[in-house]
Structure formats: C-alpha cells, structure tokens
Symmetry: C2
Subunit: 221 residues, 2 copies
DNA sequence: TAAAAATTTTAGACAAAGCTAAATCTTTCA
DNA sequence: TGAAAGATTTAGCTTTGTCTAAAATTTTTA
C-alpha cells in the first residue's frame, strides 16, 4: 500500500527520467514537486527500503522495475481521469490537471478499469499522451517527431510534447492542434526549419524548436 | 481547508446525530470510524478550535452550523459519486461504498457541480438517500416511514434506511426494492406488523422492524 | 448515597512527512 | 591539485493523527 506522498515521488521520478537515461538527483525531484532536497533524501530512503528505487548515496537514484510499474499505473489513472473530465464533464485543458492530480490517488483497480471501459479503452489522453494499459505497458504506435517526416509527405498531429500555455497559444495562432493534417513542402537544413501546408491555409514555416515538440503519425501508404 | 481525517469525523458526527437530537459521545464516534475514544477526544478538540463542533468536556458535542454545512457537502459528494458509479460504471450496491469513501475527499467545487449536471441534478442516490444540493440543503420531499401509512392506501418505496446486506437480502426474498408499489391491507396493533400486497405477488406480512426501515411516498390523491 | 462501573480526558509515544541548519561529499577550476 | 562552490545527507524539530495506560469524571446500582 503506497501513500499519497510516495505516489507523487514515483510519478515525479518517472517523469524526470523520461528526459534521459541518467540517474535522477534530489535537487531535480525537489524542484519538480516543490519541496526541499533534504525531504527528498528522506523519502528516497523509504522508497529504497521498499525496493521501489535503486539508490546509492550521493549518486542519485532510478526506479526499479516494480517502481516503474507503480508509476505507470498512477499515470494511467491520471490520464484516464483527464480524458473523462474533458470528454464528459466539459472541463478545459487548463482546469483538468489539478483535479486529475487528486483523482489519480483514488485506489481501486475496479474503478480504473471500469472507467477505461466507459471511455472505450482510449489510447491517448486530451494532450495526446499515451495512456498505459491495464498492466502498465505503454502501447507504442507509429508516432514520430515532426523533424523525421520526409519531404512531400503528409502526416497528422498525434501528440504535443510541450504543454506550456505559450506553446499552445502559438499553435492556436498558426491553426495547429491534435489531428491537424500537415504536409511537408520543403526543409531548410541551414536552421532546420521546414515549410508546411495545412489544408485551407497558406503555407507557413515552422522553426526547429516547434518541430521538435510536435509528434505525428504518417498518412497510411 | 479540512483534512481527510477531519472530513471523516464531520461525516461520522452528522450521521450519528441523525438518529436523535442528543449530543454525540466519543465512544459512539470511535465505534463508527473504528478508532479509540482517546483519539476522538484529540480530534474533537481540534474541530472545536476551528468552530466546527460545540464541545463541553465530558458532556459530548454537536456540529455547529458551519460544521453541519461541511458535513452535508461531503455527503453530497459521496452520494453523487455513488450514483455515478452505479449508473455509469456498472458498480453494484455492495461495491460502491468503499470507492465513494475515497472520491468524497476529492476537493474541487467545479468537479462536484459538473458531476451533478452530468447526472442531471438527481435528488436521490442509489440507496434512496437524498442528495444535499449545492448549498448543502436537503431537499425534503413527501417521504414518510411505512408505519405511518394509513390502512388501504397504496404507496411506493423511496428510501431503504437500513442498508445492511442482511436487510437487502431479506428485501430481495420478499420482492421489495426501490419504487416497489405496496398496498396496506391490514394492520395488527398487537405486534405492530402489517399485511401488505405487492402487485402480482401474494400478500405478505411485514414485521415492525421491517416497516421502520422502509420509507415511502403516498400515491398522489 | 457511596462505591463500583463505565466513560472521558490527559499524558506520553510513535510514524509519516515536511522543514532548517549543520555536516559531509563531489565537482569544478584556478 | 587543492580550495571553493555546489549538492547531498544527517540531525533535530514540527505537525497531524493515531495509540496505550493512567487519571479524572460521570453514571449506575446496591
């Protein structure tokens, strides 16, 4: 049985380690969950005793297999609730996160799985993030980063990696959102920007920074 | 901002005081929430400092107006979630309670009110209990206890007070449930039992104990 | 009505989870 | 390479909420 606080730590460690393979530091976690490095050390030692993280003093820590599984099941709950709130209770993107943070700690496998069924076994949450399945596995699909799409190909946005409001505002301005169709017209190796076409809009140029935060599925064929 | 434990105490005190107007004792609360009288004293003193209960040492305690409001808002959440679980996630009566105990502590007025709207502003939960409204008011209706229905009258079950599985099993056996139509055929003052008729069933006799736990609405006229 | 029984409160401990300040490692770079 | 600087850990304290055992109070009953 894990406590609320322990679950928050597992989720934080998982999210931080998605950015790279390195061990996670107390400082990173403290910043992530708005706490202090000394508090993090305390908790990491508890999690280490429970075999949820591998920990070497002064060297950082990583999730064990068991810790990673638990983290993914929490993320599963979070994303299913987010989808429920947006699709059925008319929540907007900005209202959803805080409430899902609370709902993700409700412990009832029956509830999660019934909710999954109610939502029709969705693969992605409202942000396009993949929802781990009942066993905590990430169902991978054919999503790739926009920078990897070849010239002249058409693709569809499936995931928006940077969920900052600045980026979302920018995307609104250029008429890009989840499922938007994008055709690559030309790429400029000099600064790695690309020119693209969105149906019924004039062509625009996207910077490397933008492309790196847009993930897409290639048109079938 | 109330904590999880404080909310459980408020709800317990409210539920216990529904049985009568007397002040509530530490022993009663301890039994209700599976705890010890000394722990209850501690918490009551905290709640008293927050003006959520009126407390006189050795004399028991009652909810203040503020305490009662908070209790009713928690009960509102509990009952709305129960209804959601039964109506939309296919939970059975017996599975519902434990999960609703957790969901009732999720703190988001927006969430509760959106859920209320999603369920179409229901008046009663799956047990027939009245759902307090957005201001914590109990919408009273024309429900009365079965013992008060006059001879020869017909009525409909609206609320099952005793929700023990023993009672629910008994009700199944005699084909009584929420909304069942019951006609009073005859009453026996000797032991206060009554003979009743349910459509398409043979007449049966209900003991005083059973009648006291069945609440009904009189047929219009 | 006074002693026994029951209930309630206090006192002292404990665990979880957080914090600050001080001590201890690592890393950096002059 | 050997101080500084930076990061991490430890030590000690705080709050919430629980418990047991002992003390205080109320209720029961003989």
């Amino acid at each position: 049985m894990e406590t609320h606080a322990e679950e928050d730590y597992l989720k934080a460690i998982y999210s931080i380690s998605e950015n790279g393979p390195a061990a996670v530091s107390t400082k990173e976690v403290a910043e992530y969950i708005n706490s202090k490095p000394s508090s993090v050390t305390d908790m990491i030692q508890r999690l280490s005793a429970k075999k949820l993280v591998d920990y070497k003093k002064y060297k950082g820590f990583t999730l064990t297999k068991k810790g990673k599984e638990k983290a993914l099941l929490i993320i599963r709950k979070h994303r299913l609730w987010e989808l429920f709130l947006v699709e059925h209770l008319n929540f907007s993107w900005s209202e959803v996160h805080e409430v899902a943070e609370q709902l993700e700690h409700v412990s009832s496998p029956l509830l999660v799985n019934r909710l999954d069924a109610f939502l029709n076994y969705p693969v992605r949450d409202p942000h396009g993030d993949i929802i781990p399945d009942i066993n905590g596995n990430l169902r991978d699909d054919d999503t790739i980063v926009l920078t990897e799409v070849p010239n002249k190909k058409t693709c569809f946005v499936t995931w928006i990696k940077d969920s900052s409001s600045e980026f979302l505002t920018y995307l609104d301005q250029v008429n890009i959102g989840l499922d938007t169709e994008i055709k690559i017209l030309e790429s400029y190796p000099y600064d790695r920007s690309i020119k693209v076409k969105i149906p019924r809009k004039s062509a625009i140029t996207l910077s490397e920074k933008v492309c790196k935060n847009l993930y897409v599925r290639l048109n079938e064929n």
